[in-house]
């Protein structure tokens, strides 16, 4: 099976920094160090002062007690925070479970939905551009705006969600969606689906447009009907894009903070607590300002997210390479 040229999939590969090839020419006699510094230094200042240095400080802090009520002085405790988090911090495990659930469930819902919509629009539905424009819109709003709108949608008495249920005769399933620990997390996951499906759809649509028409025609000549062409030609060709989108969706949801902060603050009964909200709460809203223990949580989560994104991408890309 032929694979798409790599450059047509550009922008959707999660972890592939493309190697830039330059023409082979005679080597330059000397390097223009002044110009190099002029171009790179401003960016490197920002990068090292506001990204690399803070990351290192967070790692350093995670081995110390650093609390306001103890005078914010550094007290070395080694791996004590890590032992406590992994060994006995039930809130952390609850939050990690929620984040992981969000990360796994979201792509499972988002991908088939986005794929269906992309295939339908690709099948020459009228006003396709209009629909694409509308579906993409939610992504352009901030999380607090989205959060407030959906607080209203989920209102028990007059929200749209219960309105629809009552209208189609399922009124007995009407629910105070965000007040019930069982339904709160699924309710929030649906909000991110609302935000991101249009975006995933657009990327899949772009990938669909790059499939050479000859493949489809060849299958048609061989007598494949519309379903066979979709499932045996088009979807396999979209697989690299789908895999990359799913990984990015997974990682994005593992970092979810703002929607929870605006809509539920992690409640009810920590039903929607994510690791991101727990870190911020633990640092700024616990008994006292604490920059040690939450830093250790941040380090653990950093290692997990970074390791997963790096590992997943490498693993899946290698499999792609072997299959095609």
């Amino acid at each position: 099976m032929p694979s798409l040229p790599a450059d047509q999939m550009e922008g959707t590969h999660a972890l592939s920094a493309p190697v830039i090839r330059e023409g082979v020419r005679s080597p330059q006699p000397r390097r223009p160090w002044g110009s190099i510094a002029m171009f790179l230094c401003p960016a490197l200042f920002f990068y090292f002062a506001f990204i690399i240095y803070p990351v290192l400080v967070t790692f350093f802090n995670s081995f110390h007690i650093l609390r306001q009520d103890l005078g914010l002085t550094y007290q070395f405790v080694g791996l004590q925070h890590f032992k406590e988090i992994l060994g006995s911090d039930e809130v952390f495990w609850k939050a990690a479970g929620n984040s992981l659930t969000w990360g796994i469930v979201a792509p499972i819902i988002d991908m088939p939905l986005a794929l269906t919509l992309a295939l339908v629009l690709h099948a020459k539905v009228p006003f396709a551009r209009f629909f694409r424009t509308v579906w993409f819109t939610p992504l352009l709003m901030s999380y607090p705006v989205v959060g407030v709108i959906w607080l209203w949608v989920y209102n028990y008495d007059w929200g749209m969600a219960n309105l629809v249920l009552r209208a189609i005769g399922l009124g007995r399933y009407a629910e105070a969606w965000l007040a019930n620990p069982v339904t709160a997390l699924p309710a929030l996951i649906l909000v991110t689906t609302w935000m991101f499906t249009g975006f995933h759809m657009v990327i899949l649509l772009t990938a669909l447009h790059t499939i050479p028409q000859e493949y489809i025609e060849a299958a048609w000549v061989d007598g494949a009907d519309r379903w066979q062409r979709t499932f045996h030609i088009i979807i396999p060709l979209l697989r690299p894009t789908l895999v990359n989108l799913a990984i990015l969706d997974f990682i994005g949801k593992m970092k979810q903070f703002a929607l929870v902060w605006v809509m539920t603050r992690g409640g009810p009964m920590r039903g929607t607590e994510t690791v991101a909200t727990y870190v911020i709460k633990r640092a700024f809203e616990w008994r006292t300002l604490d920059l040690g223990y939450p830093s250790a949580i941040a380090v653990i989560w950093f290692v997990i997210i970074f390791g997963l994104s790096y590992g997943l991408t490498r693993f899946l890309q290698r499999r792609e390479a072997m299959e095609f």
Partner: protein
């Protein structure tokens, strides 16, 4: 005939999803033109008569003028700064003339940081901003914003600068261009389509950013719009009508631009896809 039936069947999911996608926002837009009393009488009534004056009230009496100004300052300054700094760095990372031994590892490091979760930086940034008296100031927030979007900006622009043919650079040099004038007079203008993409991506990110704002800004006077909305929803939960008006004020600038430049917006946002 058969084609027609297929079309109709295909339109069903399309229309259903459109209702799901547009419904909540349209509902909010309608409520933004109705008073809270009217809304409590009927939540799905039409805005007759439309209370356009609510936008004026929100702007003057509920502080949206201040929040809008803060968001505008932060987004415009940050996006200009990041475009200049990011484009220069991208150029330096892309062209063969500026290659040095550690350049590729350095670039790979910057690229990998696209995937850092913000929590790994935010607590120590809090410490650092306090130390340098940048905590609770808009300049502090702007510096953090520029730094966090730089990796993706450099990554996207570098790919574009690398495609510009070597001959052009040589021709410009023969015409007497220095590195500095070459970048600003020749390369940057050529890169404008790519720059527009990152400009839009960064602007939307800055306009909507919430996490850093909520941790680094505690003074009400300098709240940005997303931050203000979070506070207004807890302080004035009952006043749905006015909140809806506020949501419109916060979203309309972006959505109106999107209406006219939708292709560019879609391009900009999808280019940032690797950020996840």
């Amino acid at each position: 005939m058969r084609v027609k039936i297929t079309r109709t069947i295909l339109m069903l999911p399309v229309l259903a999803y459109t209702a799901f996608s547009a419904g909540p926002y349209l509902w909010t837009a309608v409520m933004s033109l109705r008073t809270t009393d009217e809304i409590y009488r009927s939540h799905y009534g039409l805005p007759i008569p439309a209370h356009w004056g609510k936008f004026y009230t929100a702007w003057t009496e509920f502080g949206y003028a201040t929040y809008f100004r803060n968001s505008t300052i932060v987004s415009v300054v940050a996006v200009c700064l990041i475009t200049v700094v990011g484009a220069m760095a991208a150029f330096g990372f892309a062209r063969r003339r500026y290659a040095f031994r550690l350049r590729e590892p350095l670039f790979l490091m910057i690229f990998l940081s696209v995937m850092f979760p913000p929590q790994i930086m935010i607590l120590s940034l809090f410490q650092i901003l306090i130390k340098y008296r940048l905590f609770n100031t808009l300049p502090g927030l702007i510096l953090v914003y520029v730094a966090t979007e730089l990796p993706i900006t450099i990554y996207l622009l570098r790919a574009f600068f690398a495609q510009i043919p070597q001959e052009l650079e040589e021709a410009a040099r023969i015409d007497g261009c220095t590195d500095w004038t070459m970048f600003w007079r020749v390369m940057f203008p050529i890169a404008l389509p790519a720059v527009a993409t990152t400009f839009i991506l960064d602007f939307i990110y800055f306009w909507n950013e919430f996490l850093y704002a909520v941790v680094f800004i505690t003074n009400q006077e300098i709240r940005t719009l997303p931050l203000a909305i979070q506070f207004l929803v807890s302080d004035q939960y009952q006043d749905i009508g006015m909140l809806a008006t506020g949501l419109m004020i916060a979203t309309l600038p972006i959505l109106v631009m999107y209406l006219f430049l939708s292709e560019w917006f879609v391009k900009g946002m999808t280019a940032g896809a690797i950020k996840g």
